[in-house]
């Protein structure tokens, strides 16, 4: 898919995703080695966005499995369309039960879910398994199975084997430690907060009205907040939100009042706001 690490970075940038060298290198290797990519990191650093960007670059369809507590096989893999099956049975054509049964367990009545969708068909796909850590441990067993062989068995239909393996991205906020076995299947990428220069480029790209000088100040303030001992550190998503807020407020430079009034966009906990207010000398007004 890619010719070099630089090629990855350049093509992701065309879609609006600015990759650090670590991100570009790992995406390049995941493609070369044909391994799933496990992306971990704090909220809002662009994990989900990365998968979307890769799909766009590859001209691939994005198939997304959003994990949550209680997600199960019937949501992740496939399910039979019971309502439709019942209708078919009660429509009662002139046939034996065996014939009916064969019919209602056919393709027509199958509801494929993301994992099955991702391995069927010949078109290129990116499978995004988002927030894997939210799913229960049992689901990991299922993922492991699918990601090892890229095949799924539907007892009534037989085994589906991928003719074209999808590019797989798993994301996690590390709210729970994923199993060692699953980790071993994957290339591991930790995305942390970007360095100053990269973050400045990201905000300028996402918030076109922002001039270079204000972007610089914005990123510096965010950097200072991240060095504080806060409950929740502001992420790239918050930097972007803050920049948009500043534009909306018509601020073309930062000053005490503007920062104090908009700090809530960056910090989600009142005690963090208080701490930052003190450390940034905003309470001296």
């Amino acid at each position: 898919m890619f010719t070099s690490v630089d090629d990855v970075a350049a093509r992701l940038a065309e879609t609006g995703y600015l990759a650090s060298p670590a991100v570009a290198t790992t995406v390049f290797l995941a493609d070369r080695l044909g391994k799933p990519l496990l992306v971990e990191g704090p909220a809002g650093v662009g994990k989900t966005e990365l998968a979307k960007a890769v799909a766009q670059v590859a001209g691939a369809r994005l198939v997304r499995l959003q994990c949550y507590e209680g997600v199960d096989e019937s949501r992740a893999l496939y399910e039979w369309n019971h309502a439709k099956q019942l209708l078919r049975i009660s429509a009662g054509r002139d046939e034996t039960w065996d014939e009916t049964r064969t019919d209602i367990f056919s393709e027509e009545f199958l509801l494929p879910r993301p994992l099955l969708t991702a391995i069927r068909g010949d078109d290129p796909k990116v499978l995004l398994i988002d927030e894997t850590d939210k799913a229960d441990v049992e689901v990991e067993g299922l993922l492991l199975e699918v990601l090892s062989d890229f095949q799924v068995t539907v007892p009534e239909l037989g085994t589906v084997t991928a003719t074209r393996r999808p590019f797989v991205v798993l994301t996690s906020n590390a709210s729970r430690e994923l199993s060692e076995a699953l980790r071993r299947r994957c290339l591991f990428l930790h995305i942390g907060f970007p360095d100053e220069e990269l973050e400045r480029r990201i905000v300028r790209l996402k918030v076109p009205g922002l001039d270079e000088a204000l972007a610089r100040s914005v990123v510096r303030v965010v950097g200072a907040l991240r060095a504080m001992d806060l409950r929740k550190l502001p992420s790239v998503a918050e930097t972007i939100d803050w920049a948009r807020t500043l534009i909306a407020l018509g601020a073309d430079t930062l000053d005490e009042t503007v920062v104090r009034d908009s700090l809530g966009v960056l910090l989600k906990h009142q005690e963090d706001v208080l701490k930052a207010t003190a450390k940034l000398d905003l309470d001296a007004l």
Binding site: P21, L29, A30, L189, S217, R220, G223, L254, E256
Partner: protein
């Protein structure tokens, strides 16, 4: 991105790379990172796909293939630096004067040019880090380098330089000094890495990799953990507690199955003509045990006590009752504070210090006084169902160890264990009363999170 200057040196052919990679993997394994053959093969493929021209890409590629969690990264980076160094030997050209070097460092800090800072770190160690009869003949020291270059004294100058060229106006100017401090910190880290690399060249990489790289959080010595490591340890509490809870539950199930009750088995056998057909298992009493923690929270061992208290708190539903007492030279109960401490583990230690009455007229720990006060005031916290853990280094500051108090506690409790964060080899040295206490209660060396979790899994009552 791929100029020769950024590549890996000292590796020219395929076998060289393979050897490096194998040694790198061995060194990482020696640090407790589990790496299978599959990962090693992936890593070799990564090297083939990336080439050797850009060292930073190679670093990321190897990290992606060999590591499985961010906690392993701080171990990986310095080991990588040893096996895939930026350069070998010394830089070319005349050694620069100290002032000249400081001038250039000031500009690099002002521009936040990390690449230049890296090159200056190399130059600094080369010019000022060598010691012995001729520079470098005996070794290389980052400490000596930093002592001569004194990067921290450049703060004001860098700040003024940035301001002079209008690089920091308006609101964000108030952030400037802290920003520069962080850059200086980064430069110090580069100097440390470079000195380590040179020592490795002299002494053999494998030995350095084994000895000089900071261990993963669970192997960090409690007594020497830095601030970042303590924070990392705290994050490890919850996962560790979950693992331990599972193991305790398993032990409890096994214990509940119990041993054969001979009398009841025989009684039951009367109906089968005295042939014991059905063994009757003795049921264990279902009541959960009680736990009492007595923790030295004086400065010298506070990291250890904090961690253990948080761990026990996280395990509290495994017990019918948990009570925690803290002391320096006086004892106070802190059970309540610990419950609230869950929300804010960072603040726990300082709140205990602030709110509990732990010190009398002096601030250093006094085991004799504290143990005596505990036996006297809180004696009834300890009963036949309770297991007591004493946490501390048993350093009495030369005062009376009060062995009678320990005997008294031992008599009332079901079991008493003492966990000592000092290496066993220093028990009894100086003012340590460890041997005296160890003669009365079972004492274990407990130097890091790994040892602690093993001990907890083994010793905690079920």
């Amino acid at each position: 991105m791929t100029s020769p200057a950024t590549g890996v040196t000292g590796v020219t052919d395929g076998t060289g790379v393979a050897d490096r990679l194998t040694s790198l993997v061995a060194a990482l394994r020696a640090h407790g990172i589990r790496i299978g053959t599959g990962e090693t093969v992936d890593a070799a493929e990564a090297v083939a796909a990336l080439g050797l021209t850009d060292r930073e890409l190679l670093r990321e590629g190897l990290a992606a293939t060999l590591l499985h969690s961010p906690a392993q990264r701080p171990v990986f980076d310095p080991v990588f630096d040893l096996y895939f160094p930026r350069g070998v030997g010394a830089p070319e050209g005349e050694a620069a004067g100290r002032d000249d070097l400081r001038d250039r460092l000031a500009s690099a800090l002002a521009a936040d040019d990390r690449a230049l800072m890296g090159r200056l770190a190399v130059e600094a160690v080369d010019g000022y880090g060598g010691y012995g009869s001729s520079p470098g003949s005996d070794g290389w020291s980052s400490y000596q380098t930093l002592d001569r270059i004194r990067p921290q004294t450049l703060l004001a100058r860098v700040r003024d330089e940035i301001r002079a060229r209008g690089g920091s106006a308006g609101f964000a100017d108030r952030l400037l000094e802290d920003e520069i401090r962080r850059r200086i910190e980064a430069f110090r880290a580069l100097v440390v890495a470079e000195a380590r690399r040179r020592v490795a060249e002299r002494r053999g990489r494998d030995e350095i990799a084994r000895r000089a790289v900071a261990p993963t959080a669970d192997r960090v010595d409690f007594l020497y953990a830095g601030k970042a490591q303590v924070a990392e340890l705290r994050r490890a509490v919850q996962p560790l507690a979950r693992k331990l809870a599972t193991r305790l539950a398993a032990r409890r199930r096994r214990a509940a199955r119990g041993s054969i009750d001979l009398r009841r088995t025989l009684r039951g056998s009367l109906s089968t003509g005295g042939v014991p057909m059905k063994p009757v298992l003795r049921r264990r009493r279902p009541a959960r045990p009680e736990l009492v923690l007595l923790c030295d929270v004086s400065g010298s061992v506070s990291g250890f006590s904090d961690f253990t208290m948080l761990l026990v708190q996280a395990l509290h539903d495994q017990f019918s009752k948990v009570r925690v007492f803290a002391f320096v030279n006086r004892v106070d109960e802190v059970t309540g504070m610990l419950v609230h401490g869950r929300a804010d583990p960072q603040g726990l230690g300082s709140r205990i210090q602030a709110e509990a009455t732990l010190t009398g007229w002096h601030g250093s720990s006094d085991y004799g006084m504290a143990l005596g006060e505990f036996a006297e005031r809180y004696g009834d916290a300890v009963g036949p169902r309770s297991t007591v853990f004493v946490l501390g280094d048993a350093r009495t500051n030369m005062s009376d160890p009060n062995l009678a108090a320990v005997r008294q506690i031992r008599e009332r409790a079901r079991r008493v264990y003492w966990l000592n964060p000092e290496p066993m080899s220093s028990w009894g040295t100086g003012d340590s009363a460890a041997p005296e206490y160890a003669a009365l209660v079972e004492m274990h060396e407990c130097r890091n999170a790994r040892q602690l979790s093993e001990l907890v899994a083994r010793l905690l009552p079920v």
